[in-house]
Symmetry: C2
Subunit: 138 residues, 2 copies
DNA sequence: GTATATGCAAACCGTTTGCATGGCT
DNA sequence: AGCCATGCAAACGGTTTGCATATAC
């Protein structure tokens, strides 16, 4: 388990052309170690690292997440002005935002379809379409 | 012009059940005085008020925008973690986000259609669907 | 008169940065 | 050896808050 987790993290870093330092391996392991997509906040990932006994400073978590995004390994998702969310899944897809838990997750595939994307104004292109489905407890 | 601007602002406040103080009338006039929808940041509205010769403190702009939202007169739009945008148009509609100008506007009506909204998980309802089309200069 | 809105400045919170130290290749 | 990542703490920027004053009803 630990072995494959680390291997996966290491491969992931290699794919992004990033040097496999101890902290990056720790964080990469937490993010992609089990092959699932993950949605984290910097704070949350920092806590997860502490809990796992890894020593990574909060500043490094921020820097590392930024490096992962620049390397094309992750995605920043904006759903709430007060926090940044980072997603390991790279294709453009809709998210659920659980308002009372301050949490995001992928919206079930195929349940939301966008037809007829707006024509961008002259001189502009559509960089991405962010879709956030806000969920509220009944 | 000035007269009808003020009247519109006053009516708008009344509709939200808010006391028509001098500052609220100023801001309401700037927001809905010409009957158009507006997308503002707190900072931007504050500057607009200054320019118009109205004296409103930044804290009051924030408090007032929050009051307008709570009263159901406006909407907060999240497109960028670093700033809050407020929209006078109340129906659920997609936005353009102009990345290099840090500005939002309504996406042209009818050009984006969402079919088959995701089924909310048991115990939850869909509060809103936020759609942001990010535009980048070519 | 009473409740509520305003202004100011200070607190706040998530995020970023400067700089010295330590690790990777 | 040289470059780059890390950690810490301090700076940062947008937003909120506490408290005294002023205003609407």
């Amino acid at each position: 388990m630990t072995v494959s987790t680390h291997e996966r993290g290491r491969e992931w870093l290699t794919k992004g052309g990033l040097r496999p330092t101890k902290q990056r391996l720790s964080l990469a392991g937490l993010l992609v170690g089990d092959g699932e997509n993950r949605h984290v906040t910097a704070e949350g990932l920092h806590t997860a690292a502490q809990t796992a006994g890894e020593s990574v400073s909060l500043a490094t978590v921020y820097n590392t997440l930024r490096a992962f995004c620049q390397a094309g390994l992750m995605h920043e998702v904006t759903v709430d002005g007060t926090r940044s969310y980072f997603d390991t899944r790279m294709d453009d897809h809709p998210h659920f935002f659980w308002e009372e838990e301050n949490r995001i997750s992928d919206a079930p595939a195929g349940e939301l379809h966008i037809t007829s994307v707006p024509t961008p104004p002259a001189g502009y292109e559509v960089a991405a379409i962010d879709v956030v489905v806000r969920l509220r407890k009944l």
